[in-house]
């Protein structure tokens, strides 16, 4: 017995097409932002990274089904996010302990 009817499959396909279109738009916005003449380079970088985060959210939410997952998977993702943030945060924090670079 199939889990998805033909109608549900077609609806899902249309949703995927929309996600792809959004991802392409996000990518083009990122590329455009990299060339945009903004007052500071940090503005360009902020827009580019925001675009990357939106694209990542689309992939994780819709294609990895994180918008409708079980608690076990959410717990795993939450722990991973926590440890990932700690890893990146500690590395950046350590830079400030280097004499001559940070506020040490």
């Amino acid at each position: 017995m199939s889990d998805l009817s033909l109608q549900e499959y077609n609806r899902f396909s249309r949703k995927c097409a929309l996600v792809f279109a959004a991802a392409v738009c996000g990518t083009l916005i990122m590329v455009g932002a990299s060339y945009a003449p903004l007052p500071q380079r940090s503005y360009n970088i902020a827009i580019i990274l925001a675009g990357a985060c939106v694209n990542a959210a689309l992939v994780a939410g819709h294609l990895m089904h994180l918008l409708s997952e079980r608690k076990t998977i959410y717990a795993l993702v939450a722990f991973t996010t926590l440890f990932f943030a700690a890893l990146v945060g500690l590395t950046i924090w350590s830079w400030y302990q280097v004499p001559g670079y940070g506020t040490y």
Binding site: L4, Y9, C16, F20, S34, V59, L63, I73, L76, V88
Partner: protein, 255 residues
């Protein structure tokens, strides 16, 4: 003995075992790439903007690769949905497209690598620096298609008036000759490490998809639900590979 919970969800977790296993694996992968991204941030911030190369990578090729991976992420999820809808031929079509897109991605990456490994910087006895792609090399001379620049710093930014003519460098006058490989500088070391590791993941994905498309698809006849779950967990891995590229592309090509 049957492996338990390959199809039915385990009562305490609510999902089948392979899915939990894949998410745990992805957690370890996130930490692996997290460590490398952290190193990248640290190295880049420490180098300062004036010492970090810009415009060394082809944005159009990077953009094409980003769109190819995004499309493959869609086809892989459509392949899984086709299994769910019991449309095996549609599954084969979408999984085949995914494999092709991944191979094209690797081909483009290979081309990008080759342009770096054939791009040379030659330091001459008089202090000038010749920069360009290698045309030929013999015992007497090195021929590059490129230009002379006054110092290395001028190579760090894209040059609008960069000329590309053949320049013949007598071998006796060349002090050092280095390709734009990982040993050239920190940026290229980071670039090759991150994209190389990512490329290996793409290759791994291709191998798994090819198995599920070919010999592994025999399982469909005996246990379609289990096969569908295999397609799903392989797809989860592929989406992670796409996620990594979503951040690699702007970090290396655009910022």
């Amino acid at each position: 003995m049957d492996v338990p919970y390959t199809v039915q969800p385990r009562p305490d977790t609510g999902v089948y075992n392979a899915k939990v296993g894949m998410w745990l694996f992805l957690a370890s992968e996130a930490m692996l790439f997290g460590g490398l991204f952290s190193s990248y941030i640290l190295l880049r911030v420490a180098a300062g903007p004036e010492n970090w190369p810009q415009g060394w990578l082809s944005v159009p090729l990077g953009t094409i690769n980003t769109i190819l991976l995004a499309l493959s992420a869609i086809t892989v999820v459509l392949a899984w949905a086709a299994c769910k809808a019991r449309m095996f031929e549609r599954y084969k079509l979408y999984q085949g497209i995914t494999i092709l897109l991944a191979i094209v991605f690797l081909g483009i990456k290979g081309y990008e690598y080759s342009t770096k490994f054939t791009h040379y910087q030659a330091v001459m006895k008089d202090g000038r620096i010749a920069d360009g792609h290698l045309v030929r090399r013999s015992a007497d001379a090195v021929v590059l298609r490129g230009e002379f620049v006054k110092d290395r710093k001028s190579l760090l930014r894209p040059r609008a008036q960069a000329t590309h003519e053949e320049i013949v460098l007598p071998a006796a006058d060349v002090v050092s000759l280095r390709s734009y490989g990982p040993a050239m500088n920190t940026f290229l070391a980071v670039y090759f490490t991150l994209t190389g590791l990512h490329g290996l993941h793409v290759l791994g994905g291709v191998v798994v998809f090819a198995y599920l498309w070919g010999p592994g698809s025999r399982l469909w006849k005996t246990d379609p639900d289990r096969f569908t779950n295999r397609v799903e967990v392989a797809g989860l891995f592929w989406h992670f590979v796409d996620l990594v590229w979503i951040f690699l592309f702007p970090a290396l090509y655009l910022t």
